[in-house]
Symmetry: C2
Subunit: 399 residues, 2 copies
Amino acid sequence: MRIDGGVALLERRLDELYAIGAEPEGGGTYRPLYGAAWAAAGERVERWMKDAGLKTHRDAVGNVWGRAAGNGKSIVTGSHIDTVRHGGRLDGALGIVAGLTAVAALLKEKGNPRRPLEVVAICEEEGSRFATNFWGSRAITGAIDTVDADIAAAMAERGLDPAKIAIAARDDIDTFIELHIEQGAVLDASRQPLAVVSAIVGTAHLELTVTGRPDHAGTTPMELRKDALAGAAAMLQAIESIARSLGRPAVATVGRLRVEPDQVNVVPGKVVFTVDLRHSDLGAGRALEERIRSLCSTISQERRLGLAIRTLQERPPVAMHPDVRALLARAAKECGMQATELVSGAGHDAQILAARYRVGMLFVPSIGGRSHCPEEATAPEHLELGTRVLARALELMAY
Amino acid sequence: MRIDGGVALLERRLDELYAIGAEPEGGGTYRPLYGAAWAAAGERVERWMKDAGLKTHRDAVGNVWGRAAGNGKSIVTGSHIDTVRHGGRLDGALGIVAGLTAVAALLKEKGNPRRPLEVVAICEEEGSRFATNFWGSRAITGAIDTVDADIAAAMAERGLDPAKIAIAARDDIDTFIELHIEQGAVLDASRQPLAVVSAIVGTAHLELTVTGRPDHAGTTPMELRKDALAGAAAMLQAIESIARSLGRPAVATVGRLRVEPDQVNVVPGKVVFTVDLRHSDLGAGRALEERIRSLCSTISQERRLGLAIRTLQERPPVAMHPDVRALLARAAKECGMQATELVSGAGHDAQILAARYRVGMLFVPSIGGRSHCPEEATAPEHLELGTRVLARALELMAY
């Protein structure tokens, strides 16, 4: 499969999409679900689909589909079209544009596919406008039960009827393959050009509230204090240490932390912080959480502090389908390379679609691990390689 | 010196002052400098001074003085009349009311003093309305050079002329003695009823800025992170550990801490936190600061983090005058008790007045160490003891 001419086109199209929603201050782009930039980007993609000879369709939730007819269930590729604030040029956009490039090249060189071959621009994955993460892929799997009033209003503005959202559900998809940037530094640091994703990590978000006693910073000797922040610091050290000792793919992150009363000369009486825990293995992830809960509890008791822990969110890990993993590895090999396998630490549409279809993912490197920022970038030769492997995989399945 | 009837009066007067500025929500009282409650409290105290036979005078900055004539330089007692928000019944108020009680008893029992004997309600110490800490005592020592526009406007509202502030300076004071609550738990925890203050700690406020790199919490393995908050947590642990190992009176408090970008799923890229350091010995305090700076610097280097440290405020420790300490100890002994000595971890007007006059302080216990809150309290027998020792000390000096 030659896509040489297609790669220049791919770069141009990535530039075009990046310009739609460009942020006037702070750089990057922002295409929130059902916003003006989101709608313009969807229209642009639909035009490209038509140019490639695909039959297009906007479904009830706003996903844009382009289809080449065939027999049986569909082989689908694509990614999401929405972005975070100050988002980069590749997150989501690459999977759509590379999918289009691959399918266009296949249609041109190989003619009509044996099976239906589709490209999809999924309407939302980031949750950056509403608390709707995976809105598009959840609609495709029929997993949306209720629509909040503010989302319903935003849908109506785009001519979409929230009452009809169930119509977006698909039961005629066989396999979904997504090309995405890694959004981490593993491939870049190890100088590997491509990875087949083995699994998407499970995530738990915990909120810990540490309660001590606010005291005068000058008049209270160290040994008479119940310092909530000193206790939280000990917990943070323990959390980091546990995750480090487990090694990849375990990660634990304290991203938010708030101190009360937050005054220079008052011993902190209360600290609230979050822990983001991820692991690709359900049991290992739960064990990690259990160790963290247990150690934080011990620290709070030793320091005579109160501790309350609540779960904000919990999502189990999702394995990529073994047949699709093998097929992607074969496609990579046929493109001249031995692909490494990698666990995805970030969430992706594929993990939602895995509930109903066979799914697989390919990662290309993020330079310096940067993502969700204007600096998000991948070397041109890696964009090309990813697109070639994607095209070969689609060919193996659809032709 | 009998002040038995006086103690009931003292409690009533503390209640009266506490009611002036009572906060409608959250409890406690609030008498900000030059506010309505502040003015009403000053007028009440001036009336009590007149009732005791003292000649009153409001100086150019708003300090209220009550004087019994005598020869030579004055012996002065008193404290500040302003309060923090939701302030308690005793902080500042006790020193004024107990001083009045003691002086009234002396005048009644012993007649006119040999030396001038004065009670002062100092206009401001807390800095709770403007950034003016020690405003009243700085005016008395002639240490105020400039008056900000907002403070000048507030003075004008009370009929005070900011241009005349220098007139408030006094060079005819020999000794200032202040009775105050400890505002810490040392006396209460060790069941001691009274302490003579040996020194007021020096204070340094540092602000540390730790710079790492914001990364995706899912895609960035632990060993590839530059987590500013994990680094800050290690620094907090080190700071606490150093202060603990030095023991009393060294204290180090991280009271404020801010995380950026403060998102659940982003590795913190930046943390800014403050350290409040106190010690009664200048050299030991500086050594404490040096050790903290050095250890935080080592931690930042080990973790490849940036670190910037700036000094927000620095105030050297102030020793109480040895003659006054000895005299207060003698007065306590003559009242039937062996007074312990204590370092004050909080700032007081005495530390400013020490620049020009001989100063000394007495502490009575704070129940549970509580202060700057509605729960601030001292047992009646300790209020009585403190007032008796204060009266005896004033008698020893002024008669």
